[in-house]
Amino acid sequence: MQIAFFFDQSRCVGCYACSIACKDWHDLKAGAVHWRRVTSREWGIYPKVFLTYLSLSCNHCEEPACIQACPADAIIKRAEDGIVVVNRDVCLGNKVCDMRCKKACPYHIPQFGDEENATMQMCTFCLERLSEGKKPVCVEACPMRALDAGSLEALKEKYGDIKKAEGFTYSKKTKPSIIVKPRYLK
């Protein structure tokens, strides 16, 4: 089984509820670390203007480049659900290894705090909620119901298998476990 996220860009209004709900649930302070990050893109010339938001966490890739890049074998992919998790006790820290995982990740997802020799952290798919049968907190937070989570197969069944949105390109190399619905792309 491979877990996955669904993100409906056509619905996202850039409210940041997902990102801050994640920080509250996981008790992450404001600042450098975002397990789920919302970014925006604006293009066009007045009055023909376009705007999109993208809400992205770790995509728990089927073939994670971060695992290959880690010199300490601190990152593993769980066999039972495909969640990519980092063992921060084993991580060498960003000063020692120069964030090879982040550089290898096509989405630059691995996060490092501003503390000295920070160890890597990222989205855990809310493992502790999963065991209670709950979806990740970001999914339950979204006022627009633009996020969903479940098994990759079930999500494909429900939403189709769209791989491209504004600001997001599917990496054939790592195979991110995410399905998207773009705002403008057909």
Binding site: C15, Y16, D27, I45, P47
Partner: protein, 735 residues
């Protein structure tokens, strides 16, 4: 409550349902996790549909409760007023001082010298709000109140004139019954305007319903929901509405049967629109020159609106927050009437928009009922009061300036008027002039900095209350005490209670929170559209109770189905396009039919020679007005910046992120520019609510829009935050 159920002491983690009683535009469910009296996490509604999911402001609320910068103790000013230097004192010293000053000022100058200037820090709560102070000061013999609103007064006035009521809305699920939705100056993605509005707009779009956004900015709502964005010069919306009426009349597309049956005054309005009255037909070309909207666009939208019934014209707030803003709302309702989009599913009367379901606003006015005789008729205090835009002028000029009193004592709670009422620099000057200032607050706001005595107030998670949904709505919410009051904070009611004792006022607060709430809930049955109410104890234990609706609730259904049996609550019994009440006022600036009146500091004001950019103020997704400004989680979402179109920026050699100086005769603000295509040329915008932070030269570095806005109101009381002109230049720090 036994100790096992008391969340303030229970050692097991529990989840407790509550909400946010702010002036935020929504009323959502917060599910607060608490363990050993400490809030550990906050989730939102995961219960029955429709879920009332909280926005980012609610999700960040834990940082507000435990903010290191929360006011912890009573403080007294040391040094010059307004400089923000304070020393910690005891509650006894603080309350003795306030009571002593109230008594001194009353005996020296009379009660009218006491000026109570609250605002909307608690909105819709039943017990803990500014009403605690209203009650105290009323029982103390009276005071000079304020009237008006920074939000909706133009809308309120117009809705009462046209429809005789504020209950003109539909539940939001009715949007799915429309064929066309016009979001006029309306950005619910940030301003919420009823929980789940954005979700229903998204569903409407997905259902193929056409959505149009008319706005000087390409908002998040326009981007997410609209098929078409029509940029318009601020303050000119009424001209476009009237030109749409022209098109409809010229093509004979009006719903004449509707007009004949349900309205009065269409003929007078028609004479104005067609130019029969003044020789000036209000054609799309006429409006194009005023609004900047191409005539063809106006023509097309008018056709779509008149022929695409049912169509929902959604108007709230912003275009009416202009000089003569009440005309915008009058014209919008008139257009809804001309097209017969009233009292039908999928339409909208374009009125004030309270929903005809659940509790009415007066349900939560309990503390005023039965208060000692005073000068406080519920609703308007206009006759004796000072309009909120004139608070500073009234302090500076007093009776000699035509104001009701000479003010010596300023009492502020539940608000941050220095920051949120126009002309902030004038506010600071005015507050230097009075003899005493007392403020109840939770944070060190610009208003708090001006206090002589500053009293720390607890938050809604630290006391028991109930709250109404925003603009009514099909649910009820209980707000239980979840944690003990932090630090030395107290509720407004506790503070006023202790003041009442010191002022020898008896009967101010004779009941427990629970007894009051039970009494107010029982009284609320007189103020509900949806009887019977849930039992108080059931509500208290459930936290949130949703009213199941068989179909979307819509206003004026009875009036439309049976006009003889159910007249509109206006003097004529009809929708008043022409208002005799307005005619009797005999004020050319408040005409009996809706008219476009050229606004001051609009696009055509001669002042634009000096200040060529129109300045508008907008709601920000990460604040509730000036609330939550210092919360770290929220600050990192998006920065406070001045929006400026690339054309205007290029002419001024301003690049994205450059520091700019925004100025006019009232003040200057320095902050970074967001150079964007998302705002029309000639217009700049700033999100309201950022905290006034003057540097040593008095230039605001916080981004407080009211430094720039004129302290003037429209004839009917509309706040004019979007009638303002400025110049912007690149700013380099002096060496």
């Amino acid at each position: 409550m036994n100790s096992k159920n008391d969340p303030t002491t229970n050692t097991e983690e529990r989840e407790i349902i509550t909400s946010c009683p702010h002036d935020c535009g929504g009323r959502c469910v917060l599910r607060v996790h608490v363990k050993e009296g400490i809030i550990t996490r906050i989730e939102t509604d995961n219960g029955e549909e429709p879920q009332l999911r909280a926005c980012v402001r609610g999700r960040a609320y834990r940082q507000r409760i435990y903010a290191p910068d929360r006011l912890k103790f009573p403080l007294k000013r040391i040094g010059e007023r307004g400089k923000g230097a304070f020393a910690r004192i005891t509650w006894d010293e603080a309350l003795d001082t306030v009571a002593g000053e109230l008594t001194r000022v009353k005996h020296t100058y009379g009660n009218e010298a006491i000026f109570y200037v609250p605002y909307s820090g608690n909105t819709g709560t039943f017990l803990h709000s500014q009403l605690a102070v209203y009650r105290l000061l009323t029982m103390f013999g009276g005071f000079t109140p304020v009237w008006g609103s920074a939000s909706f007064w133009g809308n309120l006035f117009a809705s009462n004139i046209t429809y005789g009521t504020l209950t003109t809305g539909h539940t939001r699920n009715d949007l799915l019954n429309a064929r066309l939705i016009i979001m006029w100056g309306w950005n619910p993605a940030e301003s919420i305007q009823i929980t789940n509005t954005s979700l229903y707009l998204a569903r409407a779009k997905e259902a193929g319903i056409k959505i149009v956004s008319i706005d000087p900015r390409f908002t998040d709502s326009a981007a997410a929901f609209a098929d078409e964005w029509i940029p318009i010069r601020p303050g000119t919306d009424t001209a476009m509405l009237i030109a749409m009426a022209y098109v409809i009349i010229a093509h004979n597309l009006q719903d004449q049967k509707f007009l004949d049956t349900y309205t009065t005054g269409f003929e007078q309005f028609k004479q104005y629109v067609t130019g029969e009255e003044d020789g000036m037909p209000k054609t799309p070309l006429w409006a194009e020159k005023i609004t900047g909207v191409p005539a063809a666009t106006i023509e097309a939208l008018a056709h779509d609106y008149a022929t695409g019934k049912p169509a929902a014209l959604l108007t709230l707030g912003a275009p009416g927050r202009t000089a003569f803003g009440e005309q915008f709302h009058r014209a919008a309702s008139t257009l809804a009437a001309i097209t017969g989009n009233i009292g039908i599913h999928g339409g909208d009367p374009a009125g004030f928009g309270l929903q005809p379901v659940g509790l009415q606003p007066l349900a939560s006015a309990g503390l005023l009922r039965g208060a000692a005789p005073g000068n406080l008729p519920e609703g308007t205090t206009a006759k004796k009061g000072v309009h909120i835009t004139k608070v500073w002028d009234a302090i500076l000029k007093g009776k000699a300036g035509g104001y009701p009193s000479d003010i010596k004592f300023v009492y502020t709670t539940n608000g941050n008027p220095v920051n949120q009422f126009p002309n902030t620099n004038k506010a600071v000057e005015a507050l230097k002039k009075v003899e005493f200032v007392v403020v109840h607050e939770q944070f060190m706001t610009a208003t708090a900095r001006c206090a002589d005595i500053l009293l720390p107030v607890n938050t809604h998670l630290e006391r028991n209350d109930m709250v109404r949904p925003w603009h009514s709505g099909p649910y009820y919410l209980y707000l239980p005490k979840i944690i003990n009051s932090l630090h030395e904070s107290k509720s407004d009611l506790e503070i006023c209670s202790e003041l009442a004792t010191r002022l020898d006022i008896s009967g101010y607060c004779e009941k427990t929170e629970d007894e009051y709430l039970r009494e107010f809930w029982d009284a609320a049955k007189n103020f509900t559209h949806t009887a019977p109410l849930l039992d108080y104890d059931a509500l208290k234990s459930k936290g949130v109770h949703k009213i199941a609706l068989k179909e979307p609730a819509i206003a004026f259904k009875e009036q439309i189905e049976d006009p003889t049996g159910h007249p509109f609550p206006t003097p004529s019994g009809k929708i008043e396009i022409y208002s005799r009440r307005l005619a009797e006022m005999n004020n050319p600036k408040l005409p009996p039919i809706p008219r476009y009146i050229e606004p001051w500091e609009g696009p055509h004001d001669p002042l634009t020679a000096k200040y060529p950019l129109q300045f508008i103020t907008t709601h920000f997704k990460r604040r509730i007005h000036s609330n939550l400004e210092t919360i770290p989680w929220l600050r990192e979402c998006e920065p406070q910046m001045l929006w400026i179109n690339s054309l205007d920026a290029r002419r001024r050699n301003i690049g994205h992120g450059d520091m700019v100086r925004i100025f006019n005769e009232r003040g200057e603000v320095i902050l970074p520019a967001k150079v964007t295509e998302r705002i029309m040329p000639g217009v700049v915008s700033l999100d309201e609510g950022a905290w006034y932070a003057p540097d040593e030269k008095g230039r605001d570095r916080g981004g407080c829009c009211n430094v720039l806005i004129k302290d003037e109101h429209s004839p009917a009381g509309a706040f004019c935050g979007n009638s303002c002109v400025v110049e912007v230049e690149r700013f380099t720090e002096e060496k």
